[in-house]
């Protein structure tokens, strides 16, 4: 669970409507901000995504699949974008 992850969760903020399913399925990593949008519980990585510990990858995939807006993506960790 504390293995450093190679995948990160990224929110497409232009699509996210703050339904909150991801925060329910992945409370270890996500909470809700005052407006209901997902907030990284332990801060975001350099690329703006939430690094997923190897042990939570399966749960992260479920959260991605459950998003009714298809706003959540699990991608390989990326450097900060220019």
């Amino acid at each position: 669970m504390n293995e450093p992850g190679t995948q990160e969760l990224r929110v497409d903020w232009t699509v996210c409507a703050g339904n909150g399913l991801c925060t329910e399925l992945l409370p270890e990593l996500l909470e809700r901000d005052p407006w209901g949008y997902p907030l990284a519980r332990h801060g975001a990585g350099a690329g703006g995504g939430v690094i997923v510990p190897a042990g939570l990858e399966g749960y992260a995939r479920r959260a991605v699949a459950a998003c009714p807006r298809l706003a959540l993506h699990l991608d390989p960790v990326q450097p900060r974008r220019s």
Binding site: R10, W13, D33, W35, S82
Partner: protein, 400 residues
């Protein structure tokens, strides 16, 4: 806004093709894809649109892909910036030469000029036909007029616009240099970067490096406004102290309280020592600032910095593309909270609330609009800390 001479870029300004050819000579074709890259790398040229990314890295990334697209970005959404418009109207050929050379360097056959509808786009439109007739250009250039919004020039907004959608930022799963317009590798360069490129191709990297600092070579176009004698566009070497930039605009009109460096997504510096700090990424970094697109706004003593920042925050909230929840909700909340503080509402909770909101929006959008807004507000809270304390007690330091 007036234009003054004073640097190699400004010296190469020429209104028409005959004058341009006379001054700068023919377009120096390099003879194929990739040929220009070593000179660009050696020059140390960085993007002049704000992010300051090494130009050769971008060129190299795009050149390695198939069927790339090149874009000259002159959208200049920053209200306090006038240098892109100055370039498009006074040196359109320099910009277009740079665009042609960039297209050759990355092996592209699609070149665009992306500029605000109005005099800039018109100036380019007037000269493009002449260049084609004269056989000056090898790659056809299409001009895309953009709405005058703060975010229209953001890279992913440009990609959206070039794909026929509204010019609003989009979520990116891949880098634009790898997969931009219709999935093709896309090079977006600020028009000033391209103008420098056109000169580097002619005179070489060593010539370019004569000015500026070893780490940040060359000159840049800055736009100086606020409490200075002659607001306008100036050319200066990177590393020139901020106060001397104001000097190029004929100096301050009186004592200054603070200076906003880098535009509305930039940072406030106290006039002292701000005026002595070099205009470079390296020197400004420890102040949480950067040269950005070269915007400098001088705030005169006797003007409330919190009020000035609240006005800008109101504008930035209005310019949100209203797509991303944290920005859509957070920026108006930030603007309203700062407005109450600026108006002298004696509520100590305002500062903590502002801190929370700023942290909450930072990094949580499809583009850097919330991040840039956070940077501005944080810098205001640092630089105007004395004013914050006075306002919370119902007074204002500057209104004495």
């Amino acid at each position: 806004m007036t234009r003054r001479s004073g640097g190699p870029l400004t010296a190469a300004f020429a209104p028409d093709l005959a004058a341009h050819e006379h001054r700068s000579g023919p377009l120096p074709w390099q003879g194929g894809r990739g040929r220009l890259l070593p000179a660009v790398e050696a020059s140390g040229l960085t993007g002049r649109g704000g992010a300051g990314f090494p130009t050769w890295r971008k060129l190299t990334a795009v050149a390695s892909g198939s069927r790339p697209v090149v874009v000259a970005n002159g959208a200049e959404g920053e209200p306090a910036s006038a240098k892109d418009l100055t370039l498009l109207t006074h040196a359109p050929h320099l910009v277009l030469d740079g665009l042609q050379l960039a297209a050759e360097a990355v092996g592209s056959d699609r070149a665009y000029v992306y500029a605000k509808a109005g005099p800039g786009a018109d100036a380019v439109r007037r000269v493009v036909a002449e260049r084609v007739t004269r056989g000056w250009d090898r790659y056809p250039v299409e001009i895309i007029a953009t709405p005058d919004t703060f975010l229209a020039g953001e890279e992913s907004a440009i990609v959206a616009r070039l794909e026929g959608r509204p010019a609003r930022p989009r979520h990116r799963r891949r880098l634009i240099v790898e997969a931009g317009v219709r999935g093709r590798p896309t090079l977006v360069q600020n028009v000033e970067t391209l103008a420098h490129l056109a000169l580097i191709a002619r005179y070489g990297a060593a010539w370019f490096r004569r000015l500026g600092t070893p780490a940040e070579p060359g000159t840049f176009l800055g736009t100086v406004s606020g409490a200075c004698a002659t607001p306008g566009v100036v050319e200066a070497p990177l590393g020139l102290p901020v106060g001397e930039l104001v000097g190029l605009a004929d100096g301050p009109t009186g004592p200054l309280a603070a200076i906003l460096v880098g535009g509305y997504h930039g940072a406030w510096l106290p006039a002292d020592p701000g005026c002595r700090i070099p205009m470079s990424r390296e020197a400004l970094a420890s102040w949480g600032a950067s040269p950005g697109a070269g915007v400098v706004i001088a705030l005169p003593a006797g003007t409330c910095g919190l009020d000035a920042t609240a006005r800008i925050a109101g504008y930035l909230a209005e310019q949100s593309a209203r797509q991303c929840g944290p920005c859509l909700n957070g920026l108006p909340a930030i603007a309203a909270t700062l407005r109450r503080l600026a108006d002298g509402t004696p509520d100590p909770e305002l500062v903590a609330r502002l801190d929370r909101l700023v942290a909450l929006v930072d990094g949580r959008g499809a583009c850097r609009h919330p991040d840039g807004t956070s940077r501005l507000i944080r810098s205001a809270m640092r630089t105007f800390a004395g004013d914050v304390a006075a306002h919370l007690h119902g007074s204002c330091l500057e209104a004495a």
